[in-house]
């Protein structure tokens, strides 16, 4: 008859079957039963199953395995250590007092909050010695622009030495834009540095979420400075953090993004690290977030298809890329085996190295279990990433009980830091909002009109 490759199924409106390489099909009950029993299949269902590598003839198993091997290899190309994201914290100080700050940033001025230039030099040499050829450096904080000397040193040094070391290097500065001046803009333009910023809504919502001890209205500064950047040809991307205070206003916030002419928005759920940990005034449940996200996403679709406002949601686009295309989506949090330390590292202002931002946040909260080392020890990348005993556990989703039977496993990611945090500190489930997010994603794909489906495919291939 026909050979069936492993797949898992779940039920939304219809049955959804997902193969180990992440191809999926919606089907009815009778079709699924026939497949389970290896009975003859209706023609169109047979064709779709075969096209998507769920089944083949007995004599074709070898060829199909070869094809699926290539597909898997493409999705897991991060294991070949070609590209890496290095998050660098030039300073832990900040000029903003966001009510949800996850980074435990510091207000009191102290020299020890800033990266020393010899640490910046060690960082550059560390980056140039990595096995990866494509490096993206993301300056975050604190507020990184408060320590421009370190940023300038790193960028100039790497630009000077990248050719001889055969690296291609790109830069991003994550900034609240409060203290952007012309010198900064010239520097960013000269080195083609991308700017990533935050916008939490209109004046009332943004100023509420993002107050500052130095500025009366951070929204005013945002408005003023984004205009300056754009008039110099720099178009920042923006991150939207949802708090309990703003979650009911998601449509209003999206209108704000459209009004500012952004082409994309990243709707971010609060995590429970740093000052956000146990702050019930701003926190909400996963379900509440999903409600907000769904409302927001449906509103974005409406804006795109009914009003011609091209705004793309970034998280949704990443997930679409994951499920609709054969390509690696590059989202560090959702790779299996884990991409932490292979695809990203965080280097703190004091030279300490972590596999992820969350690992650094945990360290700021007092738990240094996931620290991989310090640049001052001059040890190699390879020896560093194998050093933490807790980080060497839970690299595969199959090691996590609740993930083993989950149909969404081919799209999901292992994360030793988050699973440790869920088990040992917060007591939440590792899954968190993930299953709800995938349920929503496939529901909206299943119901999608043809124009919506085309929009999804174009987002997936952005």
């Amino acid at each position: 008859m026909y050979h069936v490759f492993p797949y898992k199924s779940t039920k939304l409106f219809r049955n959804l079957i997902i193969s180990s390489i992440g191809e999926y099909i919606f089907c009815g009950d009778s079709e699924l039963i026939a497949l389970r029993r290896s009975e003859p299949l209706p023609g169109p269902f047979y064709n779709e199953l075969k096209t998507k590598h769920f089944i083949c003839a007995e004599g074709e198993i070898g060829a199909e395995k070869m094809i699926m091997g290539v597909r898997r290899q493409t999705k897991q190309s991060y294991l070949e250590s070609s590209s890496i994201l290095l998050m660098v914290v030039p300073t832990i100080e900040c000029n903003c007092d966001c009510i949800y700050c996850q980074a435990s940033s510091k207000k009191a001025h102290q020299r020890s909050n800033f990266m020393r230039l010899d640490t910046a030099y060690e960082f550059c040499e560390f980056a140039l010695a990595l096995p990866h050829t494509d490096i993206k450096i993301e300056f975050q904080g604190g507020e990184p622009t408060l320590h421009m000397p370190a940023i300038q040193f790193i960028v100039k040094y790497l630009e000077k030495h990248k050719h001889e070391r055969e690296k291609s290097i790109a830069y991003v500065i994550c900034t609240n834009l409060l203290e952007i001046d012309l010198a900064f803009i010239r520097f960013a333009a000269k080195h083609q540095i991308d700017i990533s910023t935050s916008l939490d809504g209109d004046r009332e919502l943004h100023d509420h979420n993002r107050p500052s001890h130095k500025y009366l209205s951070t929204y005013s500064m945002f408005q003023e400075n984004i205009a300056k950047l754009r008039s110099n040809g720099i178009y920042p991307s923006a991150l939207l953090t949802i708090t309990r205070y703003t979650m009911k206003e998601i449509r209003r916030i999206i209108d704000e993004y459209i009004g500012h002419g952004f082409s994309s928005v990243f709707i971010r759920q609060l995590n429970s690290y740093g000052y956000a940990y146990n702050n019930s005034e701003i926190q909400y449940s996963n379900d509440e977030f999903m409600d907000c996200y769904e409302t927001g996403l449906r509103y974005i679709l409406l804006q795109n298809l009914e009003y011609g406002n091209a705004l793309r949601e970034e998280l949704f686009s990443i997930l679409l890329k994951k499920i609709m295309t054969p390509f690696l989506d590059g989202f560090v949090d959702l790779q299996n085996p884990t991409a932490l330390a292979r695809m990203c590292l965080l280097i703190n202002h004091d030279g300490s190295v972590y596999p992820s931002d969350e690992a650094r946040m945990m360290a700021e909260m007092g738990n240094r279990n996931f620290q991989l080392g310090n640049l001052s020890e001059h040890c190699s990348y390879e020896s560093m990433i194998t050093r933490s005993p807790v980080f060497s556990r839970l690299h595969y989703l199959d090691e996590i009980q609740e993930c083993r039977a989950c149909a969404y496993q081919p799209y999901c990611g292992a994360d030793p830091v988050r699973s440790y945090y869920a088990d040992e500190i917060s007591g939440d489930s590792f899954c968190g909002k993930r299953k709800g997010m995938y349920n929503f994603l496939f529901t909206i794909i299943e119901e999608a009109s043809k124009p919506q489906l085309r929009l999804f495919r174009s987002w997936a291939n952005e």
Binding site: E23, N47, E48, K50, T51, K52, C56, A57, E60, A63, M66, I67, V70, R71, T325, P326, F327, R454, R457, S458, A460, N461
Partner: protein, 327 residues
């Protein structure tokens, strides 16, 4: 493209006139000469005393057929039946050609890789600045000879369906997985590949799945050519099993093309009368039918977009679309 090369004499453009050579062994019969009645930029074939113009050279494109033998038995094959076999064309003919008028060479067949050694020799003799497209079914070992990794090569490979059952039925051979494997090899080596699919009654409902297959397994292809059917030779014999009115496959075509576009895979439509296509696909239409094979219907005379339309194959005109609708 379908001329049989077991004809006796070839007149190839050379200098101001032509050179006459034997089609069998490439021996020069008559050096550069001006022959009355022959247009300087055309190839002529002289077979048993009757001389006719060949389609082998058109608009600076030269077509070379190393062999007419083929390992597949496509039900849509537009080729005349097989000639005497391997080596029907001598490589030395290729050297006799004056390339100053040629910017593009198509190598087709038959299956050119059946004559792999001859093919290597031919490619080696074509000057380096000329682009070469090889039309192969991709079932044989394409990468055996290292010469094939050169930059100027473009492979045009047919894939008729997203599943082996249907593709193999159309090509009359278990070729599907061999072709896929070779496509992967070409992709790995960053060689330019154009996929070609001919739309028939057999496979038109498969078009959306075909697009899904290409986007997910073969996203590296440089172009996907979707083609209307030319009803000659084998295809004519099987016409009742093959002919489908373009108007009937429109919606499937549109769905497939939209998916390819969304995945940023370039795509072009050949051999389809413009007015049978959905409006949104007009810009992908290529007026591809050679002038000497092309015809229009009586009612097309007054069409406003006839100058953009590729028309129909005269050979297929007995089965043209019922929905030809002049603008």
């Amino acid at each position: 493209m379908s001329d049989c090369l077991d004809d006796s004499l070839l007149y190839l453009p050379y200098g101001m006139g032509h050179i006459c050579i034997s089609a069998v062994d490439g021996q020069v019969i008559q050096k550069e000469t001006i022959i009355p009645g022959l247009e300087p930029d055309r190839i002529y074939i002289d077979s048993n005393g009757s001389r006719r113009q060949s389609s082998l050279l058109e608009d600076g494109c030269l077509t070379i057929i190393p062999t007419l033998s083929c390992n597949e038995r496509c039900i849509i094959c537009p080729q005349c039946k097989e000639s005497s076999g391997v080596g029907a064309l001598s490589a030395s003919i290729v050297s006799s050609i004056d390339y100053s008028r040629i910017h593009q060479v198509y190598i087709t067949g038959g299956e050119p890789y059946i004559a792999a050694e001859l093919l290597s020799e031919i490619v080696a003799r074509i000057p380096n600045d000329i682009e070469i497209s090889i039309l192969t079914n991709g079932t044989l070992n394409l990468l055996e000879s290292p010469f094939l990794l050169r930059d100027r090569l473009r492979f045009c490979i047919p894939l008729y369906a997203s599943i082996s059952d249907l593709h193999n039925r159309i090509v009359g051979y278990c070729g599907f997985y061999k072709t896929i494997k070779n496509l992967f090899h070409l992709g790995n080596n960053n060689i330019v590949v154009e996929l070609r699919n001919v739309i028939t009654k057999q496979n038109y409902t498969n078009l959306p799945l075909f697009a899904h297959y290409v986007c997910n397994n073969l996203p590296f292809v440089a172009n996907v050519a979707l083609m209307g059917l030319e009803l000659i030779e084998n295809a004519e014999k099987n016409s009742s099993a093959l002919w489908v009115d373009p108007t009937d496959y429109n919606q499937y075509l549109l769905e497939a093309v939209n998916m390819l576009i969304d995945f940023k895979i370039p795509c072009s439509l050949f051999n389809m009368p413009l007015c049978t296509l959905p409006n949104e696909l007009y810009n992908l239409h290529v007026a591809s039918i050679s002038p000497w094979k092309r015809r229009y219907l009586e009612k097309c005379k007054h069409c406003n977009i006839q100058n953009k339309c590729g028309g129909m194959f005269f050979s297929s005109a007995s089965a043209y679309s019922h929905y030809i609708n002049p603008h």
